[in-house]
Symmetry: C2
Subunit: 334 residues, 2 copies
């Protein structure tokens, strides 16, 4: 197998991790790293996490990187919205580079941006590249893994996935993102301007429904604060009893008049039994539990890098705007 040339696009915490991981893989070479932050341009990527230089300087000139370095695939970690990242995807795909992106809406872009998808798909096919959205959630535990578990079923009446994350053991930005420590009123205010909550639950549900060939009659999403039942102290902050410990996001899909998909995501400080749990109401019935759950920060970078190998493979046989359901078997690809 040829070495896969990788461009890292976006150098936030996840992007630096995926860049470093790609650089360390025997079958990959990190050839370029792109960010628009003037404070990062010109530095070695490895300076950004202090983990040792990687021999690649950050640039903001994507076009030049594409022409001069001819990357096979970009690891794309910039923003959650598909329409917002489309110009970036267009530049990458237009330059003949496949893209594996953590953009949450890109897990199932037709859900909210159907108008854009035909254009994106046509460009990707013309250029012989794959464009794929993935990650851990959305991208794995609440969608792809649940789909894989249905492979051994005669029939499936319902898919339910629980994910419980102890935000208290995660980095400070995540604790802040789920609102740990704020008041219930502040939570309501943030919710009203869509400034809190997990992004991607609708896309996970849409991927599940698509993969199982279930028409969606209705899709609902809910968000409530997870209120601290007692004082909780994390490494970084304290949550007083009665204040917000985190989020409780729910989703459900009605198909053919019945509730067939339910997702339940709780991310909060003080969660005592973190886990992922897939329950299929099916023949045979299937219950799968991942003890302690899949840790998001590390695993999202890993998923991007691992799926990059699949994207390069699928680009040769079935280029286009693709979904996790179109990929060859997801797995570690070292």
């Amino acid at each position: 197998m040829n070495t896969i040339k990788v461009l890292q696009f976006g150098l936030g915490p996840i992007g630096v991790r995926s860049a470093r991981l790609a650089a360390g893989r025997g079958n990959m070479e990190l050839v370029a790293a792109v960010d628009i932050d003037p404070g990062k341009i010109g530095k070695d990527v490895g300076e950004l996490d202090g983990g040792g230089n990687l021999g690649v300087a950050v640039t903001d000139d994507v076009a030049r990187a594409l022409v001069e370095l001819k990357p096979d695939v970009a690891l794309h970690t910039t923003s959650s919205r598909f329409d917002a990242v489309w110009p970036q995807l267009e530049a990458l795909a237009g330059g003949g580079c496949s893209v594996v992106s953590s953009t949450e809406e890109m897990l199932f872009p037709r859900l909210k941006h159907a108008d854009l998808c035909d254009e994106v798909d046509a460009l990707a096919q013309e250029k012989g590249v794959v464009l794929l959205g993935t990650g851990v959630n959305p991208g794995f535990v609440m969608d792809t893994l649940a789909l894989v578990m249905t492979a051994v079923c005669y029939e499936v009446e319902k898919v339910h996935v629980d994910r419980r994350v102890d935000a208290g053991t995660r980095r400070l930005p995540l604790q802040q993102k789920v609102g740990a420590g704020i008041s219930v009123e502040e939570f309501a205010e943030r919710k009203s301007r869509k400034a809190i909550g997990h992004v991607g639950l609708p896309e996970s549900m849409a991927l599940l429904a698509h993969g199982l060939n279930w028409p969606i009659d209705e899709m609902e999403e809910g968000l409530e604060p997870k209120v601290a039942p007692r004082d909780i102290r994390t490494e970084y902050l304290e949550v007083r009893k009665g204040r917000v410990a985190g989020i409780h996001n729910t989703g459900r899909v009605i198909s053919g008049g019945r509730e067939r998909i339910t997702l339940d995501l709780q991310m909060y400080a003080g969660c005592e039994d973190p886990h992922d749990f897939v329950k299929l109401t099916s023949t045979p019935p299937i219950e799968t539990r991942i003890n302690t759950g899949v840790a998001g920060d590390l695993a999202t970078a890993a998923m991007l890098v691992n799926m990059a190998c699949r994207a390069v493979e699928v680009a040769r046989i079935n280029p286009g705007l693709r979904l996790m359901t179109d990929m060859t078997l997801p797995r570690l690809a070292g």
Copy 2:
């Protein structure tokens, strides 16, 4: 999507189940059923399990069925050995029909029949069909599922899979197959002529190693009787204390001088905690447990039918002798 035309090849218990399942799927049509047993030829497939006629009469004339009915895919359930089924595969592929087979060795045919594989692959590519071996074990719990779990990992040092099956709750032939009720001496005798034990552990290990790109230095397989610690009574038979309750099969792969894959399969009457368990020694560490395990009989037929949809899909973009790692995402395909 067009209706997928299905030929059932082999009408043992699993084959009749997969035929019935395919006949009931909205996106499939059972068009033909093939067996060599004179006692079955001419009967409606549905007579074989008494579950109601399916409108398809059993025939032994494969060639005619292929020409007249033009099936897209065959569900193939005849024998465990790849070289033994090759003439059947050749007839099917030669007639332009993809094959999804429960032939255990076909999960990774290059392990024991590398010489044959180039020829098979060339024919499949020429005819634009996919030939795939799959099932529950081998095919899912001890290989494919474990691979999928590695997708969220930075690195994986070791893969371990436990499977515990309570043979006592399964049909009589399975209880007999694992030796429930025989003496330890009889077990040793059967083992010496390779007449007992699970078929497919080496293939599962080979698929894991292939999927993870781990060279195999050494592969070992072990088989011991699981001796009844007390009297055990099942619906069909009794196992006295000290006699054989079932099998304990183990496998391990040494790669790069280290033990990197271990499989532990126990199928016996009286197993009190049946389950499947995938443990990755990895970053992040991952432990996945399927409560009660995936029941083999139902699930094998389901896996064949579900993967038939994937085989038809992959035949259009990447025909050939293929592995589970080459398939688009395994899932229920109703």
